[in-house]
Every structure is written in C-alpha cells, then in structure tokens.
Symmetry: C2
DNA sequence: GCAAAAGTGTTGTCCTTACACCCATGC
DNA sequence: GCATGGGTGTAAGGACAACACTTTTGC
C-alpha cells in the first residue's frame, strides 16, 4: 500500500553529504569479548586471561580487544582469538552488546560479546599471553569489568543452543562413546540425564555412525565408538512450526 | 584449579591509567536501528521511515539514530522510538550488530538492531517525522543501507521467538477471539494452522480467560472473547531440558 | 569374583496430527 | 435459506519418562 505514496520533499531537504553527517556523530570506543567454552575431564570450562589493568589487579577477564577502525565486529572477535590464543577455525556467535556507561574504568567502552564452544584437545593454545587459562565454569566467582555478567549471559545462550543444535559433536574426539557424549550434555546443561533415554534419543536421530570400534584401556567394559554424520544432519535440518511455550 | 595460580607479574607491568588506555582506542560512530513489527488487518507490518539521505533518495529505512555519548544502546533504541514515533512502553530486544565497513555511504557506522512487535491500534503514532509509515512486510523489496538484511534477520528472530513465548497477546485487543489469535500466528509464521488443533493447543496451555463475551457485528457466528492470563504464564515459565534438533 | 560401566526394552502418558460435521449469526 | 466462520471429538502415531537386569572388561 505505501509503496505508492508520493514522495513528499517539502518536509526538509535531503542530506547531500553523508560523510559530513557521519563525521558529526559522536564516536565510541568499541571492543569485542570472546567467551570460549571448552570441555575437558567432564567439566565445562571457559578461557580467561588475567586482567592487565591495575584496577582489576589479579582478577580474570574474558578475551577481548578493541575493534580496529575498519574491521567488522565478527572479524575482530576472530582476530582476538587468534592473537591471544592461536585458535583458528572456530565458529563464533554474537550474543549481545554491553554498553553500561561506566562498565570500563577508563571511560566509555561498548563491547559486543561472542561465544564459542571448542574441543580443548583439538585446539592447542599457543602464545599464552597474559596467562590465558582454562577455568572450571562452576568455580568462577568474581571477574574484572562486567565480565561475570557477560559470561553468565553467554552461558545461558550456550545452554539454549545445545538443545537445538548438535554443537556437541565438535567437542568430542572424532570417535567418541555415547558416555562421552552424554557427559558433555550433562556438563553443559548441568543436569543428569537417563542413560537409556539418552541413547535412544540419539540413535533415533540417526546421526551417529557406528565405527565398529571400541574404547581401549578403560577399567570397565569398553563402549562402542561412533562418529557424527554431519552430512546427514545438514540435510535434515529441522523445520518446525509448533508452538511451544 | 586456576584460582590458586600465583600471580605472575614479571610478564608486564599492569596498566595504571585505564583512562589513558581507553583514550588510545579508535572510536566508531554507533547507531541503533529499530525494527518495529505490527499486526493489523491480518498482515504483519513493519514501521519504516523515508531516508533523508540523497544517496538513498526515495528508499525506506528502519528507524535509527546515532547513540549519544553516554547512553546505553538499549536506551538509545527506546529513545529513537520515542522521538520518531511517540511510542512508549514497548519491549525491545537486541538482535545483533551490523558492522560491514561500507554499510553507510558516509563512512564507518556500526549499528545494533533491536526489534519489537506491537499492537498498531494500541500505539498511536505521533510526530510522523519524515513520513513514518507501516509497510506490509511481504511487499518490501529494496531499502536504504543494509536495512533489508537487518529486517530479514529480525524477522527470522521474531518467528523463532513467537514459537517460544506468547508474544502475540500484546498485539491483540485486550479481549480477542481465537480466530484473531490464530490469524496473528499465521501471519507471523507465514503458514496455515489447523483451527481445531490450534484451539486445543491454546486451551490446554490454560493461559486464556473466558470473558463470557462474544464478538459483535461480525457477518457470521460470533466467536467467544478471551483474555490472556499473564500472571499464570509468568508462574509456569517453561523449564525444559529436552534435546530437540 | 568383584567393581564399574555398557548395553538393552517395555509401558504408560502425553503431545501432535489429521480429519468432518453441526451450529449460530447476518444478510 | 445461504454464506460464513465458530465450535467440537476421535483415533493413530510419535516422543518422552520412568524404570532393572544382564554383559563385558580390568584388576
């Protein structure tokens, strides 16, 4: 309907010089912060770095850095990860911005939070700048800046996401047992699941490939090892229209 | 484990002056853009404004503005809405940032997109700055900037969201018929739903209050009118641990 | 043989889907 | 009386939750 509205121009003249307009805008320091979750020894961990600010002396913070002047935020997040940890080929997802005016002691800094979930063993940390370390998520109390809040928000996102997408498979060895898979889900969701129902669920989804191999060197009956059928998953992407709140 | 790590300080001296650090950061123009969906005449609409840039002469754009220097992004989004349309008491949700370097013809501008879904009749548009108009979502083709992409991303978010939360009820009159509710869902999800199953679904959720009133002046058998039981919904917030991809 | 975890099946319940007929009203 | 949409029920299938015993291995 509104496509046919006449152009009304008397209201104001159009802005000819977009560059002049933009140059009149206030400018803000922009950063990105990466919340990298990892899974190891049946615990959900997160990668933190020691704050280099005197104001947060001794506290841990997320991996973050300022966004360069012609850089996309997503690219900045990948760069931060690469520079600080050497990590590459990781999928980052934006969660949200944090822009409380006093969130940074040095002045106004707006940050966009990104998160990912990776296999700790598949990604060797190089360049341990400023003491990058994995921390058990459950033991983290205080952090610098508003990073504890950012972490909490990203953790909630992760929990929601893993129920909708098979994120988990990237986190396990190429061949994994169902117990390992279940441990992963239990660690992330922070709940216990019924072993039988869990197995049924995953078998019925039919995304597991039986490798015919078994665990070795375990002090109990060895479990079968499976691979994830990524191809099949891609094809069967859920299209669902239920209403479910 | 890492809580007990000793502080290693020889790596570098801590930064004493956080303000100096921040002042060294490059700065970026920051805007917010609001994607306001509305529902009227069984159609999903979106509130757009005529671009005031010569470069996008005649094209429609989202409601946006620059973020003030000490303003939270969310607050800026609410302000934009208030200033441009008079709309208040609306819930906005952040979707994501858009930061392609050349997305604005006047130079680097990073934007954060927010969306909402409102009842067009409950919110009178005041101050029709620069021709703010409702547009039928399905007829929108080209827009200024990268706003078509932003709109698409926000629409997808809306579709996902309405399947998880009873957003819809704010969009209808205080008392509504089930047909109105179903029209809303069909418009947003862009599908047809079975009337009987739809009714069953909503009745079984038990969030509807029977007003004992009926539609009037309809050219067919009048439907019963219901209210939404917001209180009951709050209490029964879904807590769910299934895995469902 | 014992400890530890793997592996397995059934049942009841609930949710979803598909589907067809009568009812109340305006005209 | 007819057109329009309102209102209703059932049956089948699928998903989920709860639950206990046997098997295999390392030691």
């Amino acid at each position: 309907m509104n496509r046919s509205l006449p152009l009304i121009e008397e209201k104001g003249t159009l802005i000819q010089d977009a560059a002049e307009l933009v140059s009149s805008y206030p400018r803000t320091a922009l950063t990105v912060d990466c919340v990298i979750f990892g899974f190891e020894e049946n615990e959900l961990k997160v990668l933190l770095i020691r704050s280099d600010l005197q104001a947060y002396h001794g506290l841990w913070t997320l991996l973050g850095d300022v966004v360069h002047s012609n850089e996309e935020l997503g690219d900045a997040a990948y760069r931060v990860l690469r520079e600080r940890t050497g990590l590459k080929n990781i999928f980052l997802e934006e969660v949200q911005t944090f822009s409380t005016p006093d969130r940074h002691p040095g002045g106004r800094v707006v940050t966009a939070a990104y998160y990912s979930l990776i296999n700790i063993r598949h990604h060797q940390l190089r360049r341990l700048d400023n003491e990058v370390h994995w921390h058990n998520l459950k033991t983290i109390q205080q952090m610098g800046f508003d990073h504890k809040m950012i972490l909490d928000v990203c953790y909630q996102r992760l929990q929601r996401r893993i129920q909708e997408h098979p994120l988990g498979f990237n986190l396990l060895p190429d061949k994994f047992s169902l117990r390992e898979l279940q441990n992963l889900y239990e660690a992330i969701l922070d709940i216990k699941l019924d072993r039988r129902n869990f197995r049924k669920k995953f078998f019925s989804m039919d995304f597991l490939i039986d490798t015919e191999e078994y665990e070795v060197d375990v002090p109990h009956r060895p479990g079968k090892l499976y691979k994830f059928n990524f191809e099949k998953y891609q094809k069967n992407q859920k299209k669902w229209f239920g209403i479910d709140f």
